[in-house]
Amino acid sequence: MNLPMVQRILGLMLLMFSLTMLPPIGVALAFGDGHWQPFLDSFLIVAAIGLLLWLPVRKVRRDLRLRDGFLVVAVFWICLGLAGATPLLITDRPDLDFTDAIFEAVSGFTTTGATVIVGLDDLPKSILYYRQQIQWLGGMGIIVLAVALLPVLGIGGMSLYKAETPGPMKDQKLTPRITQTAKALWTIYALMTAACALGYYLAGMSGFDAVGHAFSTMSTGGFSTHDASFAYFDSPAIEVIATVFMFIGGASFALHFLVIRQRDLYAYWRDTEFRAYFRLVAIVIAGASVYLWQQGEFDTFGSALRHASFQVVSMQTSTGFLTTGFADWPGALPAFMMLLTLVCGCAGSTAGGMKVIRWLIVFRQGVVELKRLVHPSAEIPVKLAGRVVPQRVISGIAGFFAMYFVVFAVLMFLLMMFGLDQVTAWSAIATSLNNVGPGLGDVIITFRDVPDSAKWVCAIAMLVGRLEIFTLVLLLTPAFWRR
């Protein structure tokens, strides 16, 4: 363990993060909401803490080991929750207590999008903007951004990148240098966000709403600047744009990079994971809209299709925008939509959940086991796109599944112990662990009414889910700390 170096990087990254308090000040001045003081204070506080961490160890120069990378990422995400909550805590509009401020910040950074605030429409523009911005930063990962911008990270950048980026196989670099890879990812991310904002604007959103919603769409976050979420706009055009960009955000950014570099749209279809992701979304949308129409939930098939497709993509990509909501839908649909979030988007996307590729590999492994029952001595490898999946990856995924469900169960029992009913408890954990946002029962739109203890459990679940279980759980194992 290389603690001085870890401290130095944490300090540097906090310094970098403190700069993100400046745009909201600009927003406050531009819209004249007079609400810049909390951000200036937060900027000074976070920068001071960063400086205090960095100054004593600024001359330390050592390479980060893999282990240090996990420590940096885990600790920094926890710091993010605290630092990001500062302005929310300082301001009196909304007047949040400590627990709520932390919950809101963590929910933002992890792109969950669950909120404890009701009455968004009356809040100052700067606060609204800030909430959207933390989602955007958390989407591609603020550590990936740090790797792109801070050359001092050097080789250690790879270990940080690996600890933050989701997916089971992250040894594949897009470019030889890790900083270039990080830069490429952020550039694509920023460009797509710009395209999304432009789309929203042309479809009739105000400039402020367009940018704000583009932030939380590309990051598959789910925060909105209105209590009614997308129902506020009630515009099919806006919903179609949102659906498309949520879908893009749920696909792998490495794949986007490949498509752009090869200038070949067909590369999407060649990717096995993307194909599975696309098919799953298409089938669920078709099934749900037919079912909703049959059950008479909507008058016409057209409106059933409109709401089903928006809501399915919103849940499947872990965004959590709502139009009509799905909690009151008939039959198994509400529970099914919640379970859909376990699959979620592709590895290397901004979506949460367990990722399509893991399910795909586990499913194929299951098929292989079936075949083995018939031909006990057959050699049947699990393949993806014609290439054998290494046994290491498969067992890694098996371990991930086991760990995921253990964590899921433990946190759910905790919520029940804190007095939540079963439906609320399991959907709250599913929505937090998968970074989605809305749940069922008491947490359909807001988490305001659950007890503080439950909010803490959910905030932890969001962090655990965003860092894909292992990074955080690793810190609790004695083996990690043993020299």
Partner: protein, 457 residues
Amino acid sequence: MKIIILGAGQVGSTAAQQLSREQTNDVTVVDTRDEILRDLQDRLDIRTVSGNAAHPAVLEAAGGNGADLIVALTNSDEVNMIACQIAWTLFRTPTKIARIRSGDYNQRPELFGDTAIPVDLAISPEQLVTDYVERLIRYPGALQVLDFADGRVRLVGMRALKGGKLVGHQLRELRAHIPNRDVRVAAIYRDGQNVKPDGDTVIAEHDEVFFIAARDDMRTMMKELITEEAPVRRVVIAGAGNIGYRLARALEDRAQVKLIDRSAERTRRAAETLRNTLVLTGDAADEELLLEENIDDTDVFVALTNAEEINILSAMLAKRLGARRVMALINRPSYAELMEGGKIDIAISPQTITIGALLSHVRRGDVVRVHSLRRGAAEAMEAIVHADGRNSPVAGKRIDQIGLPEGTTIGAIVRGEEAIMAHHDTVIEVDDHVILFLTDRRHVEDVGRLFQAGTRA
């Protein structure tokens, strides 16, 4: 520069490590062994691609399209050549370097060229190592001998020993010891630490001293650091592989050479072509055999088998039995560090030698030669000063006016046929070959930039 390295063996990994350390290089390594690649990627900031190095699809995935340099270092000469051929045919890769082991290919230079097998530089590690060892044996006492400017200037590293005339004296006395000769002490390492040499520095026993001198002044300077050694008369070589055999052939006319190998087949084949060498079949780590062959009367014992552990052990044994100087071929840098200067006089690292040759071609244009010293801790460079009409940071300047990075010294300048030892007031002219010594290899790039022609900066 975009670089593809094929083969992640010893030399491939080291090359990837050294090249990726320079920020301007993008390195991709190709190998068939996933384990090694994963390991490498965890350690270095590079990309890895798994697959057969000679397959077009693999080369393409590694970024063959747009690569500036391809370095083929797989175990197979044939794969290396085919990979270069494919890179040239498909991607027109400008520079292709291949490791070609087999002497058969190397004897026919007409094989290599854009119209035949498009390899711009065929590196033969065996030949490089042989040359290196031969130079060490020719200059008894030297740890490292490097040529610059076609051998007009040499950089020698050696360990100062009791009896050397300068040992225990200040460096400024050197001028009195050897008047009329110009020698520059470039660096001194004491207990592994770099000591900045100036006039007051006292040379102590066991210091590792690097000096730069014109070829003819070398021997004079060496006498300053060690007692005069008798020229090498008797050499025992363990291992009749490629290197051992070539070394025996290079030395057999000047010294009495004994070549030992375990394999009867190898010794028979060696004996068929060697004229004056005594070829012995047996175990080089066998005490009886060594004593029988008068190891106690041997000037130099060189262990060059394929197994580094055996090399280390047999060299240690030879030393204990009385061989005057022992050398061993050691691949792992950490082993070399452990052994050198202790029980083994010189650790020969084929990687460092190969990498040195490789890097001097990779670093483009103005830097013509780079040698790793002390297993990569320091470097010696040879750079050419260009006239580019603009303000060169070097040309026309006095040495003390040049803003050199810390730990960098200009040792010598070769102007035409003349070798000039550098002083603080020496003025550098256009087309000079400047020989620099860097105690901190991180500055290699900065120095390279100094000498870069303005158009490319």
